[in-house]
């Protein structure tokens, strides 16, 4: 059981500031959908709008095609997992999980049975009689999930629920959340500022900045084909080379930069003369001792090497002092010494040129 969520030109103002500006999103039924963005980008506001704790200044929120205006959070088919989980400390684990059923008037025996089943689903079969504060962080996490699932929500809303966990547990819980979503088929709307979480778990991601949705797409599309400079810079590591577009032809843009003319895929709406930036990922670049024949390279000086084991990140200083990085696969070849002159080379198809004029 799951339903779609639709935001139709939603705007949310708090006094003079606008937290969410004219956002339209369509989250499909049964989808694991993440909203990724830095703090203050409006993602939590969207969650509150969908859960019903806030009403949009304008626009509509629809769940399963039904307008949710005037329907309170206790009457929406959503369940929210809070950032701090908000488990009820004075109730046992079992009572926590069964609370939503208690509210719905399910008899005690029945709701205790369902609570036990749900606790088994989240791999806490014997925790029903425990006190909440006797649990570890990861266990509390699971109780929160079980409590939310107990009300059989059609849409599950998660507000950075993993942020309080340590790294190991966080990575484990990612897989677990994904598995629970698959098993239950419930639509998940997941809010996070952690791109790793968004990329690993989601079917689709919406990247938000300053109250606006910058791009919606699959994790691969977001990472490989960013459509705005913000997305290119926020998701993953990237090299940014600013310049001005000379010409656009056959999907490729020629950019005049301080390091000479460079080619890259043309981003949406790019025209000749536009102020733009070329973005290329460190893992799509090569280190060359001499400039390659096609001229697709930038001269730089090797500052230092961050050795990561399976690869090394070469940190370079460009001719104008800007930082660049090249990811070097650990294939046994020897790296040049620090201070050596190198060239950062890349294929035009691996770079993208995006207009930056709108960035202000």
């Amino acid at each position: 059981m799951s339903q779609s969520v639709e935001l139709d030109r939603v705007t949310m103002r708090f006094g003079a500031s606008t937290a969410v500006r004219d956002v339209s999103l369509e989250i499909r039924a049964g989808e694991f959908f993440s909203i990724l963005g830095p703090s203050g980008c409006g993602k939590t506001t969207i969650l509150r709008l969908v859960s019903g704790f806030a009403a949009p200044s304008s626009g509509r929120v629809l769940i399963g095609g039904k307008d949710m205006a005037g329907i309170g959070p206790n009457r929406r088919p959503t369940a929210l997992i809070f950032q701090n989980l908000a488990l009820f400390p004075l109730m046992s684990v079992g009572e926590n999980v069964a609370f939503g059923l208690e509210v719905r008037g399910v008899p005690k025996v029945e709701r205790e049975r369902r609570a036990r089943d749900l606790l088994a689903l989240v791999a806490l079969p014997d925790a029903a009689d425990k006190r909440v504060d006797a649990l570890s962080g990861g266990m509390k996490q699971r109780v929160a999930i079980a409590r939310a699932l107990a009300v059989e929500p059609q849409v599950m809303l998660l507000d950075e629920p993993l942020s309080a966990l340590d790294l190991k547990l966080r990575q484990h819980m990612r897989a677990e959340l994904r598995a629970i979503q698959r098993r239950t088929g419930v639509t998940f709307l997941y809010i996070t500022h952690d791109q790793g979480e968004a990329l690993t778990m989601s079917d689709r991601i919406a990247v938000m900045a300053r109250g606006v949705v910058e791009q919606v797409g699959t994790p691969a599309a977001i990472y490989d084909r960013p459509e705005t400079p913000f997305v290119a810079g926020f998701v993953g590591e990237t090299n940014a080379l600013p310049g001005r577009v000379v010409s656009v032809a056959d999907g490729l843009a020629r950019l005049d930069t301080a390091r000479g003319p460079l080619l890259g895929r043309a981003g949406p709406g790019l025209v000749a003369g536009a102020v733009a930036t070329l973005f290329v990922r460190p893992e799509r670049t090569l280190r060359a001792a001499t400039p390659p024949a096609d001229g697709q390279s930038v001269p730089a000086v090797l500052l230092h090497v961050d050795f990561e084991g399976s690869f090394a990140m070469l940190v370079l200083a460009g001719a104008d002092g800007g930082r660049l990085s090249v990811q070097h696969r650990n294939d046994g070849t020897e790296l040049p010494p620090e201070g050596a002159g190198v060239h950062l080379a890349f294929a035009p198809q691996d770079a993208v040129v995006l207009a930056t004029a709108a960035e202000g």
Partner: protein, 302 residues
């Protein structure tokens, strides 16, 4: 003690401890011991004190119940006053709780912080005035020809003035008012510490307002409710000024009975015994509240 030693050194620590001990001993422990001693002696003329008739006796305590006849339903005066005091103090406590809970909820959870500070100030200002004066102002307000009756008559609510001060109404109103803040502040403090997400989580899971209060808010505020109830009950039960000023002959309070035995009846032993009965009542109430609300002594003491 260790912290004291570390902070102040041996000399100052000894001085602080001695001062506290002397204070407690001279001003708290000894008077109480003297009273206990009194309460077990018969009331004798001064020359006979320490004489052959001055034996230890439970008579002073028993006198509270003397004349009690369950078969005919006869209740002796002093016992009736005692029972009325329990009932009255319980009523004041219950009224205070009902009045203060919504106010504390509003102050702690609804109002903006600046407004809360302002409203708390407004609530506290009247309490800068002496308790007797505040009680007197209620006397004036509730008087037969006072402003309350004038207002009610002018607005047509009543046709003839009401004698507010002839029944228990005056005492209940006056006491509720006198000890309101002792209920409000513990409640406010308890409600303020409630995580907002708790309330939202309950609502998100489908709970209505009543259930949220019953299952989340009130259990959380338990220690605050317990402290408020203990404070108001103990202060009401042992209040003298309010029943003396706002009460009528038919609404005597047990404190007035104690006063009477001490100063009008010149029967100090019996007055002492009654005072200890009142103390036992208060201790009993504290223990009852602790049990009902499942809070420890440390939480009450806070």
């Amino acid at each position: 003690m260790d912290t004291l030693l570390r902070h102040y050194g041996p000399v100052l620590t000894a001085a602080i401890v001695t001062a506290t001990a002397v204070w407690l001993l001279a001003l708290v422990v000894l008077p109480y011991l003297a009273m206990i001693e009194f309460s077990f002696h018969p009331n004798l003329p001064v020359p006979q004190m320490g004489g052959p008739n001055d034996r230890y006796t439970l008579d002073n305590y028993a006198s509270l119940f003397r004349g009690l006849d369950l078969a005919t339903g006869t209740v002796p005066d002093d016992l009736r006053v005692f029972l009325r005091t329990i009932w009255g103090a319980s009523l004041v406590t219950a009224i205070s709780l009902c009045l203060c809970y919504p106010v504390a909820w509003y102050l702690a959870r609804v109002a903006a912080p600046e407004r809360t500070a302002f409203l708390l100030l407004l609530l506290v200002i009247p309490f800068w005035i002496n308790e007797i004066l505040r009680t007197f102002s209620w006397y004036i307000l509730l008087a037969y020809n006072g402003p309350l009756n004038a207002l009610l008559k002018a607005t047509g609510v009543i046709d003839a003035p009401v004698r507010w001060l002839s029944g228990s109404a005056g005492v209940l109103v006056g006491m509720t008012y006198a000890f309101l803040l002792f209920m409000l502040f513990p409640l406010y403090n308890a409600l303020e510490t409630l995580d907002r997400n708790q309330v939202e989580a309950a609502r998100d899971l489908g709970a209505g307002t009543l259930r949220i209060h019953a299952r989340i808010v009130i259990p959380h505020a338990r220690p605050g409710i317990a402290v408020g109830c203990v404070m108001v009950f103990v202060l009401s039960a042992s209040s003298y000024v309010v029943p003396a000023l706002l009460g009528s002959p038919g609404t005597r309070w047990f404190t007035e009975t104690i006063y009477q035995w001490f100063f009008e009846g010149q029967d100090w032993p019996r007055g002492s015994a009654y005072a200890f009965v009142l103390l036992a009542l208060c201790i009993g109430f504290i223990m009852l509240v602790m049990r009902v609300f499942r809070v420890g002594l440390d939480e009450i003491a806070k």
